[in-house]
């Protein structure tokens, strides 16, 4: 306690202990059937999450378990997400796969769920590590951050000003990638590449649109934009393709082939990348079932078999990496449909 008798952050740090993952893993335990896994994406009706959750549904069917999806129709309705966690807890599902809108806000509810013997897997967007059993990372943050910078540098010939168009300022994964991009840019070979600004479009088409305009007005010499969010890259591409900057200002980032097909073909975008969201969902589902079956507990080093996807090992802090993202260009974009 402090002198005046109040509670400060320091006091809390002392008292905090991390909730340890309980129990012991039995890699050879039988895969249970008839489980129910509830998917709680950041936002229902979001095409990206729909594809991901469909992947989860398919996997669960294969495994003989059942799938359900609930969620809020807004991507920033944290209270709504919390109450859905509560609902799932109430309905006694066996596991929850959740993409968290907020790393902290879901914690109380998720811990409550774990206390009720429900396994919690986060995917796409993590919570604090102690609030879930495992996190399925779409790709290692390292891979995503660095490859995007590499692609952009290549397109602009390692020279010129670039900017980043991100989603919300609070988006955990976005911020992690941006940090890594900045780190990658420190490499001497990028000495002529200058990151002039990070703009935030809040994953809102119109806002991203105007942020793109602003970037170009503010930095007339801008050579390229990296937008590591599907909404952002789409809006930026739409703006560029209808403006005088088309083809002159490069654009790359994370986008879905269906969204970006047109812009790749009309020359607005040369290349962009993404992982397969369906695989992300599938891995989340399989991890959830593995947890419920007792094959893993979420400790570092445990391994499990994820059907046709092969074997995965749990990394530090219970993180499981999906693998490297795919790069899409005019040559291969037509081979994908999501």
């Amino acid at each position: 306690a402090t002198a005046c008798g109040g509670t400060t952050k320091e006091d809390v740090k002392d008292e905090g202990g991390k909730a340890a993952a309980a129990g012991k893993a039995d890699p050879n335990a039988a895969t249970k059937k008839g489980l129910t896994v509830g998917f709680l994406p950041k936002q229902v009706n979001n095409p990206y999450f729909t594809v991901a959750d469909k992947g989860g549904e398919k996997a669960l069917k294969e495994l003989g378990s059942s799938y359900k999806e609930v969620g809020t129709s807004s991507g920033t309705d944290t209270a709504g997400q919390v109450s859905y966690v509560n609902t799932l807890t109430q309905q006694q599902v066996d596991a929850i796969a959740v993409s968290a809108q907020d790393p902290g806000a879901l914690c109380t509810a998720l811990k409550q769920a774990m206390k009720n013997d429900i396994k919690v897997v986060t995917y796409d967007s993590d919570t604090n590590p102690e609030c879930r059993n495992a996190f399925i990372s779409q790709a290692s943050a390292d891979d995503i951050g660095r490859t995007q910078v590499q692609q952009m540098a290549e397109q602009i010939g390692n020279k010129g000003e670039i900017a980043i168009l991100s989603a919300a300022q609070t988006a955990t994964n976005q911020n992690a990638w941006i940090e890594i991009m900045k780190d990658e840019l420190k490499d001497p070979k990028y000495k002529d590449v200058k990151l002039v600004k990070v703009a935030y479009g809040d994953d809102d088409a119109q806002k991203s649109f105007q942020q793109t305009q602003g970037l170009l007005q503010e930095h007339p010499n801008l050579k390229g934009i990296i937008s590591p969010t599907t909404v952002g890259i789409k809006a930026a591409a739409q703006y560029l393709s209808g403006s005088k900057y088309k083809g002159k200002v490069k654009l790359t980032g994370l986008g879905t082939p269906n969204d970006m097909r047109k812009y790749v073909k009309n020359g607005t975008v040369e290349a962009f990348e993404l992982w397969d969201p369906a695989k992300l969902g599938e891995l989340a589902a399989r991890t959830a079932v593995a947890l419920s079956s007792g094959q893993i507990t979420g400790k570092e080093g445990e391994t499990f078999k994820a059907g046709a996807m092969g074997e995965y090992t749990i990394g530090k802090n219970g993180v499981i990496d999906l693998g490297k993202p795919t790069v899409f260009t005019a040559d291969n974009v037509d081979q994908f449909d999501f």
């Binding site: 105007q210 739409q238 403006s243």
Partner: protein
């Protein structure tokens, strides 16, 4: 009555010309204040960033305002009748998707626009019917339909989305094209705006909208078909929201179930900033359009000045308050000056 007061000399030539012109001027003044705020803002931005008013910059400014101008025009008609339509955002979203689905199947762009407008008309009629026939508070009803239409939209659309790739190239090009700095879309909005303003000023039914907003009971007594007019205002508002939906599709080339979400607040702000009073009976569509232009420009100005986006929201809000406060203070000053000038005595 036994007393007949000595009659005053009939005041034949009331000094009307001077007073009239001054009154006229005040009414123009209301819009002038907003225009002033707008110009100052643009001026400052241009000084800070010479790219801002480049051809592309002007085009962007106009394009950004287009959709809001349309919806605000429709909304002000409803607000003038002392009602409100909160469902415009939802209507815009669902009309845009309706047009998009049709185009996706290889439809004709003109028919698609008509389809969007008709969708809007349908929901406008629904709102109008509920409000005028049921004689119930518009705020509640349209908040209700806001949710209903939004819900129907998201059930219908699900996670589908329509992207530029699904649309005919000509349609999308039309959305960003124009004659030098003036986009096609802005011309459409301007035409609608001017026509609406002309109608409101020069046609009996237009004036009656003001009358029934100003005093509904008196309107009834004056034999104005109140329900019919309210229904018409809502239908028009819906139609413009629908049209705006089609233009949204052309402009952004992208619609999903979230399109237009939360738009009602922006529209209401534009209308309010533009001096259309929520108690009905006063304001002009030009004011609302200027409000829309001001509001969307704020969003372009800050990024153009390189203001960190952390600051944007706060500055937006403060500018909004500043705009209405300046407008109000100017109006008060002028009214005061007029009162002193017109004072019958002293």
């Amino acid at each position: 009555m036994t007393v007949t007061a000595p009659e005053k000399a009939p005041a034949a030539d009331v000094p009307k010309a001077g007073a009239t012109r001054l009154v006229d001027r005040i009414f123009k003044m209301r819009e002038l204040a907003i225009l002033l705020v707008f110009l100052v803002m643009i001026g400052i931005t241009q000084a800070g960033n010479s790219e801002f008013l480049s051809e592309q910059g002007i085009k962007d400014l106009l394009l950004n305002a287009t959709i809001l101008v349309l919806v605000a025009t429709g909304q002000s008609l409803v607000v003038i009748t002392r009602n409100v339509d909160l469902s415009v955002g939802s209507t815009l979203g669902i009309s845009a998707f309706a047009a998009g689905t049709y185009l996706q199947g290889g439809g004709n762009p003109v028919v698609a626009v008509l389809l969007a407008v008709l969708t809007g008309v349908g929901f406008g009629l629904l709102n109008g019917a509920l409000v005028s026939l049921g004689q119930v508070p518009a705020l509640v009803v349209t908040l209700g339909t806001l949710y209903i239409i939004r819900g129907i939209d998201s059930i219908w659309v699900g996670s589908r989305q329509i992207t530029a790739a699904d649309l005919p190239g000509g349609f999308v090009d039309f959305g960003s094209g124009g004659i030098s700095a003036v986009p096609w879309l802005a011309m459409i909005a301007l035409a609608v705006l001017v026509a609406t303003a002309y109608y409101l000023k020069h046609f009996g039914s237009g004036r009656e909208l003001y009358a029934l907003g100003s005093n509904p009971e008196a309107a009834r007594l004056a034999g104005i078909p109140v329900r019919k007019r309210i229904l018409a205002a809502y239908t028009f508002c819906g139609a413009l929201a629908g049209l705006a939906g089609a233009l949204y599709l052309a402009r952004f080339g992208n619609v999903d179930s979230g399109t237009g979400n939360g738009y009602e607040l922006t529209v209401v702000s534009a209308v309010v900033v533009g001096g259309v009073v929520f108690t009905g009976g006063s304001g002009s569509v030009y004011g609302a359009a200027l409000g829309a232009l001001l509001l969307t420009s704020i969003n372009s100005v800050l990024p153009a000045l390189g203001v960190s986006s952390v600051w944007v929201l706060a500055i937006n809000g403060i500018l909004l308050i500043l705009a209405i406060a300046v407008d109000r203070i100017v109006a008060l000053r002028v009214a005061n000056a007029l009162k002193k000038r017109n004072a019958r005595h002293g």
